[in-house]
Amino acid sequence: MPTSTSKYQYVDCDPDKCIGCQLCEYVCSYTKTGEYNSYRSRIRTVRVDEVLITAIACRTCENAPCVRACPQDALSQDPNTGIILVDASKCDACAWCVEACDFGAISMNPETKLAEICDQCEDQEDGPQCVKWCPKEALTLTTPDQRAQKSRRELIKEEIIGNKAAG
């Protein structure tokens, strides 16, 4: 699986906790568009083989492939946050950014066909609304390094508790 090498924060989903309820999509589309429509959500849940479930939003890659792919220079990356900005006046709906994204994290507005990308709810006081709503706390705003630290901590717990249980 491709992984982001970014220093930036992004909305990450823990597939062990995600139950696939899709409430994140409702909350996202409502926050961004004022209506409930998962086609307008910047975060998407995925379910494969019935039990493999997670949610995907923009991973804020460094030197982001979507920005490089855009032939119209409609996409730019905020150097401080890594958030991808879409200039709707330049976007011509070619979808090259959608193709370029390894994570499938860019969606198209079904009516205008313009690219729509997670901006971590920059304009909301309490941050990403999907993170706030997620009933299982599966979503977190994190960086790859923070996530790695968390994984290491979990691994050590698992190994020690696992060894105790086995012993």
């Binding site: 309820c21 409430l23 409702y26 429509n37 086609y39 009933p135």
Partner: protein, 628 residues
């Protein structure tokens, strides 16, 4: 109009055309959604007295009021037709992304008429309707069919309701599946099969507008958070299978075709055991923050890797009820039912009937001859492998599987006619539908609820076991409170089934699940969605109207007082072991309680509905047809 589109989509499979029916807001205020709206669509579109497999028995789909909004557990829909199992109303519910897509496509409901010349997959693409050739989907399992359609249409947000091979073969109790959940009971899959309707797929790309989105967000957020607390921990941690040991300890766990209520092997088929040894992942229905479904897998042995979601009702029917104490067989059996799209409850209870018939030496090995077993096989209680063979024969309608695929009522009548036997006495069914996993001999109020149920005996439509088990009444005896109790618990359930909301959320509004605790909160949710001004008593009316339209449908199909009955075993054959031993509901007790129930409902002694009663509920056209 907020929360609704005001439009019902009609589709004619034979003519391959569709049309739009506009409905006024008042119609929605009467029937709301889910089972009530689906039944009302049946009332308006079914030719009375029609054969269930004829062109005149349409498929009626009704969205819920909250589908596609953040209201927790509001992503359910109602599916209704005249039931092949009962000949009365067949109304089912399912949690589903299918209904959310349908709502986003701009429809409140769909009525599918007539019979297709060739196997068809209906594709509702917003306001466009496409009749797609389904030949390449034939033989595919339920989930497999959904995935294949998404691939064909190149859109992973397309949601489908499908039938599997059982529905194609017209197993009478086949069902309809979406996202691994089923509109499970009363045989919708065979109605779809009779229409050559393999799947209905939907892409809905529009947003859903509600009257007061800010309020709805706040209310929904609070309920979502509350739903992570102690009121739902039993659902979240163990799921419904926790009932195996509960029912066993109360002597109510149907064992070996309901001959006993205590199963000696309950421990190893318990929810606790399942949780520890077989559960793979807990998943949610659409729009649900609770997540109770325990996806479970066979670990080891010949069926290794078989996986499906395990619920109590399917578990009891294919475990204790077959005398099977090994979950590997139980999961395999349920996965056969789920993947081929048939009602795992009826399947299990039909196999248990066949097992008892075999142990009573009416069936012999010869009766179970099939291609893989030319000499047949034995079918004793506890024999998991034979049960798996038989489930596959039912799915394929092979050999005696063809007869068993009709359910216990038709199977027992056919055998009794052929062989002069009385196997009907252990055919566990009311109105042709097999009952739930609560032995009603030890639950007198629930025995009334089971007898009068419009779709047959059902734990979802009647919550009358609740006062029995909680000790509000003496569950082993009968008194004059039971009619009103059966009515109240039935109408309480009907409110949830009509909105629809999953009942597992019922304590998360205020901490109290009773009417006083839940109705004002539900009214707030409806009002924020629609802009209406419903009050406490209006919520009560939702349940009254829902049960009334269902009963009216049955009356029009020829329902008589004698149809409200119980399996022979529950009236004559007491259990010998456990806390509920020695009890039956006698005919005298049942008739007495039916009188109480009809009186409480304001119906006649014959159980018919007075004209004025219907007019008071605003159902004037129904009054004209069946009121007396």
């Amino acid at each position: 109009m907020y929360g609704y589109h005001g439009k019902i989509l009609h589709i004619d499979l034979k003519e391959q055309k569709h049309w739009v029916e506009e409905k006024p807001e008042d119609w929605y205020k009467m029937y709301i959604g889910g089972v009530a709206m689906a039944t009302r669509l049946c009332w308006e579109n079914i030719k009375p007295g029609c054969d269930v497999y004829s062109p005149d028995n349409p498929v009626c789909i009704a969205n819920g009021i909250f589908a596609g909004t953040p209201v927790p557990v509001g992503g359910k829909y109602g599916l209704a037709s005249k039931s092949p199992m009962t000949g009365f109303i067949g109304d089912s519910l399912s949690g589903s992304w299918f209904t959310i897509a349908l709502k986003r496509a701009g429809w409140d409901g769909v009525v599918i008429h007539n019979i297709s010349d060739n196997w068809v997959n209906i594709f509702i693409d917003d306001d466009r309707v496409e009749f797609r050739d389904a030949t390449s989907l034939l033989g595919k399992g339920t989930y497999e069919t959904e995935e294949a359609i998404r691939e064909q249409l190149h859109d992973d947000q397309v949601r489908s309701a499908t039938i599997g091979p059982s529905g194609e073969n017209m197993v009478r109790f086949a069902n309809v599946t979406n996202d691994g959940r089923q509109a499970g009971r009363t045989g919708h899959g065979s109605v779809w099969g009779s229409k050559k309707l393999k799947a209905v797929s939907v892409r809905g790309t529009h947003g859903i507008a509600v009257a007061d989105p800010d309020t709805l967000m706040k209310l929904s957020f609070n309920i979502t958070k509350e739903a992570q607390g102690p009121h739902t921990s039993k659902y979240r941690i163990l799921g419904t299978s926790t009932n195996v040991l509960n029912m066993n300890k109360l002597g109510l766990l149907p064992t070996r075709n309901y001959s006993e209520g205590v199963f000696e092997g309950a421990e190893t088929v318990s929810g606790e055991y399942l949780h520890e040894h077989h559960a793979v992942k807990t998943i949610a229905c659409a729009q649900c923050p609770i997540a109770c479904e325990q996806m479970s897998m066979v670990k080891g042995g010949p069926y290794e890797g078989a996986m499906t979601g395990i619920e109590y009702e399917c578990l009891f029917a294919n475990g204790p009820n077959l005398g099977i104490a090994d979950l590997n067989y139980v999961i395999k059996l349920i996965s056969i039912a789920d993947h081929s799209g048939m009602d795992a409850m009826t399947m299990g209870i039909t196999i248990s009937w066949a097992m008892e018939t075999y142990e009573r030496k009416i069936f012999t090995n010869d009766d179970f001859k099939c291609e893989s077993h030319p000499d047949g096989f034995p079918l004793n209680f506890g024999d998991g492998q034979s049960a798996v063979f038989l489930a596959e024969m039912i799915r394929d309608r092979e050999g005696i599987g063809a007869l068993l695929s009709e359910g216990t009522r038709i199977a027992s009548r056919t055998i009794d006619k052929e062989r002069g036997t009385e196997t009907w006495k252990w055919a566990m069914q009311v109105k042709g539908l097999e009952p739930a996993g609560y032995d009603a001999r030890g639950l007198k109020t629930f025995s009334l609820g089971s007898a009068v149920g419009t779709r047959g005996p059902c734990h979802n439509r009647s919550a009358a076991y609740d006062p029995d088990i909680k000790g509000d009444v003496d569950r082993f005896s009968v008194d004059d409170t039971r009619g009103a109790l059966a009515m109240e618990t039935e109408e309480y359930a009907a409110v949830y089934d009509t909105l629809p909301l999953c009942k597992f959320i019922r304590r998360c509004f205020t901490g109290k699940a009773d009417r006083a605790g839940a109705w004002p909160a539900i009214a707030n949710l409806i009002n924020a969605t629609t802009g209406w001004d419903l009050k406490y008593e209006d919520i009560d009316l939702i349940g009254t109207r829902a049960t009334t339209i269902k009963k009216a449908f049955n009356i029009r199909e020829g329902w008589k007082r004698a149809d409200d009955t119980l399996p022979w075993r529950w009236m004559h054959d007491p259990m010998t072991k456990g806390p509920s031993a020695g009890h039956v509901t006698t005919e005298e007790e049942l008739e007495y309680m039916k009188d109480l129930y009809y009186t409480a409902k304001g119906w006649t002694k014959d159980g018919l509905i007075p004209k004025q009663k219907l007019i008071d509920l605003g159902m004037n056209d129904v009054a004209e047809q069946i009121g007396i």
